[in-house]
């Protein structure tokens, strides 16, 4: 645990000492507020549905970006060699990098808190729905980060890793999009919907948390975390 904490602090320092991180947080905050406020006054509904609808799009782009950057830092400086020679387990490395990346995404999500407060002030929103929306966002962030971090370890070509991660998440998102599902035959559409994180995300954001959602997200996390672990282990062969 001590090892994890030291690694986590180091990775967090890396992320928060990049000027680009603050540019990204500012831009994301502005974009989210602008898009949401536009839709809020257009829909005239006191909820955060417009925000939750857009969030997956941001995360599909951001998760691979953060994962690639945090992985690339060790690659560029050659500090993998230091990590490999320290009394550390591969799982501590994976866990620390994922948690640091998640902290950054969590901060980006927390930036939307003024929107929730605005909605609470000007209307009478269902607070349970707001809470489940944030929970869904966090779960989606963890799932996207785990997948893109394991992809970021695939090769030493950061750009290729980023695009591969982005395409994987985009592909998975498309599996749950209504315009795709409408074109698929009944059973395949059902499977496609189940395989997409978006449908589970929508369920949770809508206040519905089923065993199917939990099982799928847990399996997704487990598979990609093991993949990331194996990728890091492979470096020592």
């Amino acid at each position: 645990m001590k090892n994890f904490w030291a690694l986590y602090q180091k990775d967090l320092r890396f992320l928060f000492r990049q000027p680009l991180t603050f540019v990204f947080l500012a831009l994301l905050g502005l974009l989210n507020n602008w898009v949401f406020l536009n839709l809020l006054f257009l829909n005239r509904q006191a909820n955060l549905q417009a925000l939750w609808q857009n969030m997956p799009f941001f995360l599909i782009l951001l998760a691979p970006l953060i994962s690639t950057v945090i992985h690339d830092e060790e690659e560029k400086t050659g500090s993998w060699e230091i990590l490999a020679s320290l009394p550390l387990t591969e799982s501590a490395i994976v866990l620390a990098k994922l948690t640091a990346s998640l902290s950054l995404l969590a901060l980006a999500i927390v930036e939307t808190a003024p929107l929730a407060i605005t909605v609470a002030v000007i209307g009478h929103p269902d607070l349970g729905l707001i809470f489940s929306g944030y929970l869904a966002c966090m779960l989606l962030s963890i799932a996207y980060l785990t997948a893109s971090f394991s992809i970021a370890n695939l090769s030493r070509q950061s750009l290729a890793n980023f695009f591969l991660g982005f395409l994987l998440l985009l592909g998975d998102d498309l599996l749950g999009q209504e315009f795709v599902l409408a074109r698929l035959p009944g059973k395949i559409a059902l499977i496609s919907r189940y395989l997409s994180l978006r449908s589970h995300y929508q369920n949770i954001a809508g206040g519905l948390l089923t065993l199917g959602d939990i099982t799928f997200i847990a399996s997704w996390l487990l598979i990609f975390a093991i993949l990331a672990f194996l990728m890091i282990k492979r470096r020592r062969k």
């Binding site: 001590k2 690694l7 890396f14 400086t77 050659g78 490999a84 320290l86 470096r235 020592r236």
Partner: protein, 302 residues
């Protein structure tokens, strides 16, 4: 203390280490020498657990160990080639990070002590990316020493440093009371601080042993006329004499010879040969000991 037994390491189809066998004696400073690409860094990485050997065993204090096992990493302080550090951290943060992972007690005290010993106390709070190469090297060295690991693996610890900084690092290393394996291209320095040496060539161990023993080999410089190099090589090979260097100068041939036996024996063989061949004219016969760079050249010649 540490013994490598028949270590093989391949990258793709290229065999980088071929049956590498050597021992690092407890309390010794062992110099690992070799030309670029000889396998020095790979050997150090295998010992430090950066990657696994394909074949062979590593014995630590008589026990077979798995260098990939993180518990074994506690026994080793490793300074990689080019000394990769995290540029966004300050030396204090970096050393704190390494110390926390190594679970070192009284960490702040140790950091201050090492910073004082290596003269970078004033730079503890500056980001590493702002430090000069010399200071970065000192920070890297301090990180390997945190927790006083019983075995230090230092890959080119003096590379890229100016002569003053080289002296500082060299003096510091030679004063350490621990077992050290270090690689360097500066042979004079290795000769000065190491008491054992391992020479690696094309992935194989070409020579190893105590420094004095290696430097004890007699060397004879002779200048001859009236014969040919090829003929001489044939005769001397039969007498177990190695030609370290040969050069034609007009009609004369300049040779540097060495053999495993003592100097008197070497001289006697040469005198006997000259007497046997009346056409040979011996102009110069100068005896001495081989220097490390001469041994190195001899063992690593392509």
């Amino acid at each position: 203390m540490l013994r490598l037994v028949n270590i093989d390491k391949k990258f793709g189809r290229r065999l980088i280490l071929k049956k590498v066998n050597f021992e690092i004696k407890s309390g010794s400073i062992t110099g690992l020498l070799g030309v670029n690409g000889a396998g020095k860094t790979t050997t150090m990485r295998v010992i430090s657990g950066v990657f696994a050997a394909d074949k062979g065993q590593i014995l630590y204090r008589g026990q077979i160990v798995n260098p990939l096992d993180y518990r074994f990493h506690r026994q080793i302080g490793y300074l990689p080639e080019n000394n990769p550090l995290y540029p966004f951290l300050t030396p204090r943060e970096y050393l704190g990070f390494i110390g926390q992972i190594r679970q070192i007690p009284h960490l702040n005290k140790q950091i201050s002590k090492l910073a004082q010993a290596l003269f970078f106390v004033d730079h503890l709070q500056r980001p590493i990316h702002q430090l000069s190469k010399g200071y970065r090297q000192r920070v890297g060295l301090a990180a390997t020493l945190l927790g006083n690991p019983p075995l230090l693996i230092l890959d080119e610890p003096m590379a890229g440093l100016d002569p003053n900084q080289q002296r500082l690092v060299r003096n510091f290393i030679s004063r350490l009371k621990t077992t050290i394996l270090l690689s360097s291209h500066i042979l004079a320095e290795v000769q000065e601080i190491c008491n054992r040496v391992v020479i690696i060539n094309r992935g194989r161990i070409a020579s190893q042993g105590p420094m004095e023993q290696l430097l004890e080999k007699p060397m004879l410089k002779i200048t001859l006329e009236g014969t040919k190099i090829a003929f001489l090589k044939k005769i001397l090979k039969g007498k177990n004499i190695k030609i370290v260097h040969s050069q034609k100068q007009g009609k004369a041939i300049k040779l540097e010879l060495t053999m495993d036996k003592d100097m008197n024996m070497l001289r006697k063989i040469i005198w006997d040969l000259v007497r046997k061949h009346p056409k040979w004219q011996l102009y110069q016969l100068e005896s001495g000991r081989q220097k490390l760079d001469e041994i190195f050249q001899q063992l690593t010649r392509i």
